[in-house]
C-alpha cells in the first residue's frame, strides 16, 4: 500500500514537473540561441527568471554585468512573439547592449554612403545609384534600408558588388524572390533583395554582411525629365517623408523612431533618427547633361552645387561636399535655348519592335488668348507634418493666388487635417471684400493632427459645379500619407468636371501622389521647395491658367502604325506645359504626326515631321520607359476600380522587360561561399526626417 502510494506521489510529482517543463518550453526556446535572444525588443519588461538570466549571460557574455546596472537599464528579453513579416525581427544593435558602444548623437549604421551618377540625354535620364553597406559591428548583420527613387523610375538593373566581384541581380516574381532571399539568408549566403513598396519607395535588404566587410548595391534606372516653362527638371529624392496612415489602415507606410520596429503596425515602416542624432551616411551626386541644344541657365535651389561646362550644350553638375546630408530632394533645373524647343520624338528599336516617346508642346499662339472665368478651390493641408516652414510656404502661395483672382472668378478655401473645414458654405465671387476675408482666414490657419486627405478631397470635389466657370482645384500638401491608392480612387470617383493642379510643398514631398493626382485630374503638378519662391511658382501657375488649354487632343500618327500609347487619355495642353507620350510603333517611313485639339468651339492643329534617318534621336532606355508607363497605367486603372485585378499583367510586363514593380523584385545571391554562423541581427537603417519637417509631429516614438 505504501509502495503504491509512493508510486502515485512520484507519478504526480513527475507529471507536475513535466507540465512545468512544458510551460517553460517557449521560454527556453526564446533563449535557445544567441540570435533569437537579440530579436526581442528592449522595451517594457524585465528578465523573466534566473534561469533565463543565466542562459542569457552564457550566450551573451557582455550582458553578464546586468546585475550591476540600474533597474531601468535592464535588458528585456520577454515580449509577445510576432511573425517575421510583422517586423519584430528588425532589431537594431543600437537598441540593446550595442547601444553602450554608440556615442550620443552619432549612430553607426550599415549604410555608409550613397553615390548617384546621372546622365541626361535630351529629356531622358539614366541614373546609377550605388549604396555602400558596411558592417561597423562586431557580429554579422542583415541591413534593411527603405529609400526613395523618382516615381517614374524604370529600374532595370541591379548589381551586388562584393570586393572586385559584381553579381548581376535577377528579376523574379516578388514572392519567389523573397523566399529565395530568406533561404539564402538562413543558410548564411551573402544575398540582396530589392522590393518596391510604392512606385517611389523601395526596400533594400542585404543579408550576411560580416563584421568590417562592405557590400555595395548598384541600381540603374531610366526616367523622363519634367519640363515646364522652358526648364527641364532633374530630381533625385533622398529620403522618404514620414507618412500618416488613417486609423485602421495597415497597408501603409509607418513612421517610427529609431529602434521602434513594428510600432506603426504598417506593412512598410521607415525608422527616423531623433533630431539630435546623426548617422554617418552621406551622399555624393553628379549629373552630366547633354541637352543637344545650348543650355542657357542652370539652377538648383535645393542644394549647393558646382558646375562646369564642356560645351554650350553640355554641363557637368556636382553636389557640393558641404551639402551631403541626404534629407531633401535634389532638384536641378536647366533652361535650354527657347527658340529651339519643338515637339521632340525619340525612338528605339530592338527585337521587340519599335518604341517612342514624344514630348508634345502646346501651340505658341495659345498665349495670345485669354481665359474664361474660373471657380478656384484651394485645398490646404494643415496636418502636423506641414507644421512650420511648409505651412508658411502654403499660406504665402495661396495669398498670392487669391490676390491674382479676377472679379468674374469665384473661390473657396478648404483646410484639412483630421477633418475638413472651409471658408464659407459656397464659393464666393473674388470681390475685394471676400478676398480680404479669405486672406485673414488663411493667416489664421494652424497645423496639427493627421492627414485625412479623403476629407479634403470630398470637401473640394463634392459640391455642384458652376457650368459658367472652369473649375480648378488646387491641392497644396506634402502628400505624406500611406494610403495613396485610396486617395487616388476617391479622386477618380469624385472628380466630375474639375481639373486638379497639385502643389507639392516641402523639401521631400510625396511626388508619386502629387503627380498621380494631377494626372487623374487632367491638370498639372508644381513643387515649392523650402528654398523656392512660392510667389514665383504661383505666378507661373497663373500664367499657365490665364490662357485656354487645348482640350480633347487627338493625334494622327501618319505612317507610324502606333499602338499602346500612354497616357491612354491625352491630357489638356496648357501653355508652357508639354506632355510626354510613350508608345510602340512599326514602320520606317518618314512621315508627319498631326496633333489636333479643341479651343472653345474651334480646332487647332500642330504638325510634327518625323524622320528615321541616322540623325534621328534614339535612346536605348525608351523600351523600359514605355514598359514602366504601361505598368503605371495598369496600376492607375486598378486604383480606380477595386474589382480589377491587374497583378498578372503588371508581373508579365515587369518580368518581360526586367523591371521593378510591386509584384517583382531583384535578387542576387553569392552562392560561392557561406559566411560563418547564423544570419545575424537585422539592422534597419534609420534616416533623418526631411529638412523642415518636425520629428515630434510626424514620427511615432
Amino acid at each position: 500500500m505504501k509502495t503504491k502510494r509512493t508510486f502515485t506521489i512520484l507519478a504526480v510529482v513527475i507529471c507536475m514537473l513535466l507540465v512545468l517543463l512544458g510551460l517553460l518550453t517557449p521560454s527556453l526556446n526564446r533563449v535557445g540561441s544567441l540570435n533569437r535572444v537579440r530579436k526581442f525588443s528592449t522595451s517594457g519588461l524585465h528578465l523573466a527568471d534566473v534561469r533565463e538570466a543565466e542562459l542569457l549571460a552564457e550566450l551573451h557574455p557582455e550582458l553578464a554585468t546586468l546585475g550591476a546596472v540600474a533597474e531601468d537599464e535592464i535588458w528585456v528579453i520577454a515580449k509577445p512573439e510576432r511573425s517575421e513579416a510583422e517586423g519584430t525581427e528588425y532589431e537594431t544593435p543600437g537598441s540593446g547592449a550595442m547601444l553602450a558602444k554608440i556615442k550620443e548623437k552619432d549612430v553607426p549604421l550599415p549604410l555608409k554612403h550613397t553615390d548617384v551618377k546621372g546622365h541626361v540625354c535630351g529629356y531622358i535620364a539614366t541614373v546609377e545609384v550605388t549604396q555602400q553597406f558596411q558592417n561597423p559591428f562586431s557580429e554579422k548583420i542583415e541591413a534593411v534600408y527603405v529609400f526613395p527613387l523618382p516615381q517614374s523610375a524604370a529600374v532595370n538593373e541591379f548589381i551586388m558588388v562584393i570586393g572586385q566581384r559584381r553579381i548581376r541581380g535577377i528579376i523574379r516574381e516578388r514572392q519567389e524572390a523573397e523566399q529565395i532571399y530568406a533561404e539564402a539568408r538562413r543558410q548564411g549566403y551573402v544575398a540582396s533583395l530589392l522590393t518596391q513598396e510604392r512606385p517611389n519607395i523601395f526596400t533594400q535588404k542585404v543579408a550576411n554582411i560580416e563584421p568590417g566587410k562592405q557590400i555595395d548595391v548598384n541600381i540603374k534606372y531610366f526616367n523622363t525629365l519634367a519640363y515646364a516653362d522652358g526648364w527641364y527638371e532633374f530630381t533625385f529624392p533622398m529620403v522618404v517623408g514620414p507618412r500618416f496612415n488613417p486609423p485602421g489602415y495597415t497597408e501603409g507606410v509607418g513612421a517610427v523612431g529609431r529602434g521602434k520596429a513594428g510600432l506603426s503596425g504598417q506593412t512598410t515602416e521607415v525608422q527616423y533618427l531623433k533630431p539630435h542624432e546623426r548617422s554617418g551616411h552621406d551622399i555624393a551626386l553628379a549629373v552630366d547633361i547633354d541637352a543637344g541644344v545650348q543650355i542657357e541657365e542652370i539652377a538648383c535651389t535645393s542644394h549647393a552645387i558646382k558646375n562646369s561646362r564642356a560645351a554650350p550644350e553640355r554641363v557637368h553638375v556636382q553636389l557640393s561636399p558641404l551639402d551631403n546630408i541626404p534629407n531633401k530632394d535634389f532638384v536641378l533645373r536647366f533652361k535650354v535655348a527657347g527658340e529651339t524647343i519643338k515637339s521632340a520624338l525619340v525612338t528605339h528599336r530592338d527585337e521587340r519592335g519599335g518604341f517612342f516617346t514624344l514630348m508634345l508642346y502646346p501651340p505658341d499662339d495659345l498665349r495670345q488668348l485669354t481665359r474664361a472665368p474660373m471657380e478656384m478651390v484651394f485645398v490646404l493641408d494643415c496636418s502636423g507634418s506641414m507644421s512650420g516652414e511648409p505651412l508658411d510656404k502654403v499660406k504665402g502661395a495661396v495669398k498670392r493666388a487669391l490676390r491674382k483672382l479676377e472679379p468674374d472668378d469665384t473661390f473657396q478655401v478648404i483646410r484639412f487635417s483630421d477633418r475638413a473645414s472651409q471658408l464659407g458654405a459656397d464659393p464666393v465671387p473674388a470681390m475685394p471684400e471676400n478676398v480680404r476675408k479669405a486672406l485673414r482666414y488663411v493667416d489664421s490657419l494652424q497645423s496639427s493632427g493627421g492627414t485625412m486627405m479623403i476629407e479634403g478631397i470630398k470637401a473640394a470635389l463634392d459640391f455642384p459645379h458652376d457650368p459658367r466657370r472652369f473649375r480648378l482645384v488646387s491641392f497644396m500638401t506634402d502628400g505624406y500619407i500611406g494610403n495613396e491608392v485610396e486617395i487616388l480612387g476617391a479622386i477618380h470617383e469624385h472628380l466630375g468636371e474639375s481639373r486638379i493642379f497639385s502643389f507639392g510643398v516641402g523639401s521631400s514631398v510625396n511626388r508619386y501622389l502629387l503627380d498621380r493626382m494631377a494626372k487623374l485630374g487632367k491638370g498639372a503638378v508644381a513643387y515649392i521647395g523650402l528654398h523656392d519662391s512660392g510667389t514665383e511658382v504661383v505666378d507661373r501657375f497663373y500664367d499657365r491658367i490665364s490662357h485656354p488649354a487645348l482640350t480633347d487632343v487627338r493625334i494622327d500618327w501618319g505612317d507610324m502604325e502606333v499602338s499602346e500609347v500612354y497616357p491612354r487619355q491625352i491630357p489638356d495642353l496648357f501653355v508652357g506645359r508639354p506632355i510626354v507620350l510613350t508608345g510602340r510603333f512599326q514602320g520606317r517611313t518618314d512621315t508627319t504626326i498631326t496633333v489636333g485639339g479643341g479651343l472653345g468651339e474651334a480646332r487647332r492643329g500642330i504638325r510634327i515631321p518625323v524622320t528615321f534617318d541616322d540623325a534621328a534621336a534614339t535612346h536605348p532606355g525608351i523600351a523600359c520607359v514605355w514598359a514602366r508607363k504601361r505598368i503605371e497605367d495598369l496600376a492607375g486603372r486598378a486604383a480606380c476600380d477595386s474589382d480589377l485585378d491587374v497583378s498578372g499583367e503588371i508581373k508579365h510586363v515587369a518580368l518581360q522587360y526586367g523591371l521593378m514593380s510591386a509584384y517583382t523584385a531583384f535578387l542576387a545571391v553569392d552562392s560561392s561561399r557561406t559566411t560563418e554562423g547564423d544570419h545575424g541581427v537585422t539592422v534597419v537603417v534609420p534616416v533623418p526626417v526631411p529638412d523642415g519637417v518636425r520629428y515630434d509631429t510626424t514620427v511615432q516614438d
Binding site: 503504491k4 502510494r5 502515485t8 506521489i9 507519478a11 504526480v12 513527475i14 507529471c15 507536475m16 513535466l18 507540465v19 517543463l21 512544458g22 510551460l23 518550453t25 517557449p26 548589381i159 551586388m160 572586385q164 566581384r165 559584381r166 553579381i167 548581376r168 541581380g169 535577377i170 528579376i171 523574379r172 519567389e176 529565395i180 533561404e183 539564402a184 543558410q187 549566403y189 544575398a191 508579365h652 518580368l655 518581360q656 522587360y657 526586367g658 535578387l667 542576387a668 545571391v669 553569392d670 552562392s671 560561392s672 561561399r673
Partner: protein
C-alpha cells in the same frame, strides 16, 4: 501529519492525469495551426562556371543558353568571368527567363581580348532536391572583334572557384 498526496485520486483518474501530464508538454511544443506536412525539398545554392575556348582568335562576344536536363534550378545571380574583358556582370534575357530559359550574353569593345580557354561567367543557382543536376550548355554564338562568328567550344565546371 503526513501529506496524503495520492488520497482522493482513484487509479483511473490518476491514469488519466498521468496521460494528460505526459501529453501536455508535447502538445505545447507544437505551434498553433501546424498540421502534418510533407517533408520539405532540400534547397541549396551553388555556382556553375562557364568556359569558352576560342583557340587563337580573341573572343569579343558570346551568347549561351544554360538549362538543367535533370534536377530543378533557379538562377539567382550572374557574375562575370576571369579575363578583364569579360569581368563585368554579363546580361541575361529576362523574357527568356519567364520560360525557364537562362540566356546569357556579353561583349567587349576593348583591345585586350582573351584567347584560348577562359572562364567567361559564373551562374549562381538555387538547386532544389538532393540530386545533382545535369546541365546542358548551348553556345549560341561566339564572335571576334569584327563581329564575325568564330568556332569555340564551351564547357561547365561546377562548384566553388575562388
Amino acid at each position: 501529519m503526513k501529506a496524503n498526496v495520492g488520497a482522493g485520486f482513484k487509479p483511473a483518474q490518476t491514469g488519466v492525469l498521468v496521460t494528460l501530464c505526459l501529453v501536455a508538454p508535447l502538445l505545447g511544443s507544437i505551434p498553433a495551426g501546424r498540421t502534418s506536412k510533407a517533408p520539405e525539398q532540400r534547397v541549396r545554392f551553388a555556382p556553375v562556371h562557364i568556359y569558352l575556348d576560342s583557340g587563337a582568335t580573341p573572343l569579343a562576344a558570346y551568347q549561351f543558353e544554360l538549362k538543367a536536363k535533370t534536377g530543378q534550378i533557379k538562377i539567382v545571380g550572374v557574375e562575370g568571368g576571369a579575363h578583364p574583358a569579360f569581368h563585368a556582370a554579363p546580361y541575361y534575357d529576362p523574357a527568356a527567363l519567364m520560360h525557364d530559359r537562362i540566356i546569357i550574353a556579353a561583349f567587349s569593345t576593348g583591345a585586350d581580348l582573351p584567347t584560348g580557354r577562359t572562364r567567361i561567367a559564373a551562374i549562381h543557382l538555387q538547386i532544389l532536391g538532393d540530386a545533382e543536376p545535369e546541365y546542358e550548355l548551348k553556345l549560341a554564338v561566339a564572335a571576334d572583334a569584327q563581329g564575325h562568328s568564330l568556332d569555340a567550344t564551351s564547357s561547365i565546371e561546377r562548384g566553388v572557384r575562388q
